[in-house]
């Protein structure tokens, strides 16, 4: 089961609707990014990522300030 399938399975279950999904993907794989978003990911971050950016994205998804 790859990450896309995991994404799909999470979104197929109504009791996990509130779970945010942040997808990590390799840089330049635009088709993967598009696919991930289509399958229900909330946001993507390309690897290699800066830890500062990743933390900011996580905070944003969880609705936390700063």
């Amino acid at each position: 089961m790859n990450g896309f399938e995991v994404c799909q399975r999470i979104r197929a279950n109504p009791s996990w609707r509130a779970v945010k999904i942040l997808v990590l993907t390799a840089k330049g794989r635009d088709s993967e990014i598009a696919k991930g978003l289509t399958l229900g990911a909330d946001l993507y971050v390309t690897k290699p990522f800066s830890t500062k950016d990743l933390v900011a994205q996580v905070r944003q998804l969880l609705g936390e300030a700063g």
Binding site: M1, N2, G3, A18, V19, L22, V23, L24
Partner: protein
Amino acid sequence: MARRILIVDDEPNIVISLEFLMKREGYEVEIAPDGEAALKSLAGSAPDLVLLDVMLPG
């Protein structure tokens, strides 16, 4: 209550750095090395956020 994050990645080095990073930010962290383990973890207790590597082995 601390927010919970499930990290799904098969690369130990990435898992270690993500775990360190998220714990430092005050989150509770769960780890799953593959999709099966991730779904099992979700079924047990759903996290607030899933950090998902799409390049998991099929």
